[in-house]
């Protein structure tokens, strides 16, 4: 009869080499996807997007330096639905990457690495980037309606 004070030994599963093959840690597939992972990927993706965005900046500056006609073309392109979408995406990428960078500086200084803090920072990063993007577009697109 089993003694209740002595815990029963867990059943062992041996592989062909005679090692106990019980999994030692949860596998990647059953991890809850943490928001910090999404934010890590987004920081890289927005960085790469801004990299390509320099093409637009160079085009805009070169056009401004060339002629009013060339400048008009860029301004026209930016005003098309595709141009507006690109510029809106560029704005969000810039704000997200900037706030993500600040998040990295906070970590570099040794703060915000705890489980609660890092999730709060990640959410603040995402929400902050959306708020700043909308604010910029409210100011730039709707508030400054006319030409100057």
């Amino acid at each position: 009869m089993a003694d209740p004070k002595v815990p029963a030994e867990r059943p062992k599963i041996f592989d062909s080499n005679g090692f106990d093959s019980r999994p030692l840690s949860p596998h990647l597939q059953i991890y809850r996807w943490p928001i910090t992972m999404t934010m890590s990927i987004l920081h890289r993706v927005t960085g790469a997007a801004l990299y390509m965005g320099t093409l637009l900046l160079a085009w805009w500056l070169l056009a401004a330096a060339t002629s009013s006609q060339a400048f008009g073309w860029v301004q026209w392109f930016i005003g098309t639905p595709i141009g507006l979408l690109i510029l809106f995406g560029y704005t969000w990428a810039l704000m997200h990457h900037m706030l993500g960078g600040i998040r990295h500086f906070i970590w570099d200084l040794g703060h915000g690495l705890g489980p609660g803090d890092r999730d709060r920072l990640a959410r603040a990063n995402l929400i902050g980037s959306i708020i700043l993007t909308l604010l910029i577009w409210i100011l730039g697109y709707w508030a400054l309606g006319g030409t100057n």
């Binding site: 960085g47 401004a64 400048f71 008009g72 500086f105 100057n148």
Partner: protein
Amino acid sequence: MNSSLKTPLGRVRGLGSAKSGTQHFWLQRLTGVAMVPLTVAFVLTLIYLARASQATAIATLGSPLIAILFYLFIITGIIHMRAGMQVIIEDYVHDDALKIAAVMANTFFALLMGAACIFALLKLNFGI
């Protein structure tokens, strides 16, 4: 017990087998810190120029404060993005020849974009 004849300082100066230390990391942080205020200035200027004519754009980008901040934004941004893209390439491109080619192409692209933007600014600031 230190089995090497090198002093600890000598080992640090030699930077070990990797032959490099934290320069890349530090360059990324240094330019990153600078980019925060420069980005704010850049975005505020672009908000102002959202629907500007070419004449307004030239006048605005020609004012000393905005011009200097734009030059700094472009130079700092180009260095920062080159360093960042290099890390992405080194993380995902495992074939040595392809990796070296991609890192070189990254530098060329960064310099091309930097040269284009700086040339444009110089031309609209000082040119005809």
